[in-house]
Symmetry: C2
Subunit: 276 residues, 2 copies
């Protein structure tokens, strides 16, 4: 882990680090907030996966999460949303290629050599963090926004026992039935749709669910709500009798003004599970 | 209003009253909690509609609502769930007839002469209360459990502007598609299903929604959950982009142990709207 920057923040340290990733075949950058409590021992960790067009930086500077994580004694990880660099495939559209990894392992050219974000987030990066920082592997939770909410939900349901709680802000709930999903899955995974299902939170909820608490916030004035399909996941949760809260927040849109408004409650929600 | 009993309760008065109802053609009994603040002026009111087999008494003695209503300075009304008496039609089943009014206006014999619970709850009883007690007509909210949750939701959506907030505990969400609903609507309203839609919370949510906050709690271990169909209403709320919280509460069943657990949060939810 190479240190890019470290700043004191709410009594702890907001760091930015990079490391050579084997699975994505490029250097990857991430933000990591360590609370003051990490000076004396391993602390629980909340993963925060970001949305389309974001880097490791957006949530780190705009979500206001450090205030609450410091109080709760929890580390925050802000990974990047895709591989990057001159040698990495890209697309002119904002929603494909760099900044739009969709948290899948691409199987199709030209994406497959670098776009292995599922393995990066679920295997390589956690192992790198646990060996380099005082983070308690046995106390993890996960959250995310939009495309990152999709990532958080699908990863949480795919690794039973790893995450004590999962939350999401305006997640892409049903990508196999949305233009935020079908385009990217066709590009990254190919035309055979049976390979897409493992990356769809609504389908995973129907099949598997999550053995822990879930909190989802969705703004009613979200300009992208038709692409997010909250109704699909809300129905799947209720049909499954999945414990959890699905909150439609009146008047809020898709921005970080929405995310930051409810960040305190999400951190408190995860803190309750992580400190249980 | 005839006084049946009055008991001091959390600094206020828990009363039971009866009155001759024109619309149901019989005497109707109700519980009314007035907080201490009612001694010096009109107070906001929270309606609580009860479920199958209940009278005015069940929630009054088991829901634990007075504690929180006293603190918030809010009155509580606990109406009965049907007309009653020897001259009133009945059925051997627990889910039809007395104790099972379903908050509709019956059009079919033998039910139509007395089973006019919609008009009783939305017109006759409120007028009787506003003229007899220090209750602020302009500050009303409504809640209920099971069949009463169905009543609360359908009434709230049918009288825009009357209720500032609506909540429900394990409501019957989609009676036109459930054995808790189809049997009763066929008996009370007849075979023409187009007349049923006005009494279905999911259909009203799709058509109309509610201009205020909504809070719904549903236990994941509810023994009647397949009859309640929370998935239908959860989907309709999300599809409509209706502001509100739909919470699946892990491990809770259909009982008053469930209702009382979350009563504090429901009263606080309504108090925020009523005191706004």
């Amino acid at each position: 882990m190479k240190t890019i920057s470290e700043n004191r923040c709410f009594g702890g340290v907001q760091g930015v680090y990079s490391h050579a990733s084997q699975v994505t075949g490029c250097d990857m950058t991430l933000g990591l907030f360590l609370p003051e409590q990490a000076e004396t021992g391993a602390v629980p960790v909340l993963w925060y996966l970001s949305g389309l067009t974001c880097t490791h930086e957006n949530a780190m500077v705009k979500a206001g999460a450090q205030r609450w994580a410091a109080e709760a004694g929890i580390a925050l990880v802000f990974p990047d949303t895709s591989p990057r660099g001159d040698g990495v495939a890209n697309d002119a559209a904002y929603d494909l290629g760099q900044g739009a990894g969709f948290y899948v392992n691409a199987t199709e050219k030209p994406w497959s050599p670098h776009f292995q974000m599922w393995d990066y987030i679920t295997d390589e990066l956690p192992n790198a963090l646990f060996s380099a920082f005082p983070i308690a592997e046995e106390a993890q939770a996960i959250s995310g926004h939009s495309m990152g909410g999709h990532g958080a939900l699908t990863i949480a349901m795919s690794f039973p026992g790893r995450f004590r709680s999962v939350s999401a802000f305006a997640p892409i709930c049903n990508p196999t039935a949305s233009d935020w999903g079908r385009k990217q899955f066709a590009a990254y995974l190919g035309a055979e749709e049976s390979t897409w299902a493992q990356y769809d939170a609504t389908l995973l909820m129907r099949k598997r669910g999550f053995d822990g608490p879930i909190l989802i916030d969705q703004g009613t004035q979200d300009q992208f709500v038709d692409l997010l399909k909250p109704e699909s996941l809300a129905m799947a949760m209720a049909e499954r009798r999945q414990g959890g809260s699905f909150r439609m927040q009146k008047g809020y849109d898709h921005s970080y003004f929405f995310v930051s408004t409810f960040m305190e409650e999400h951190v408190a929600f995860h803190a309750a599970a992580l400190h249980a």
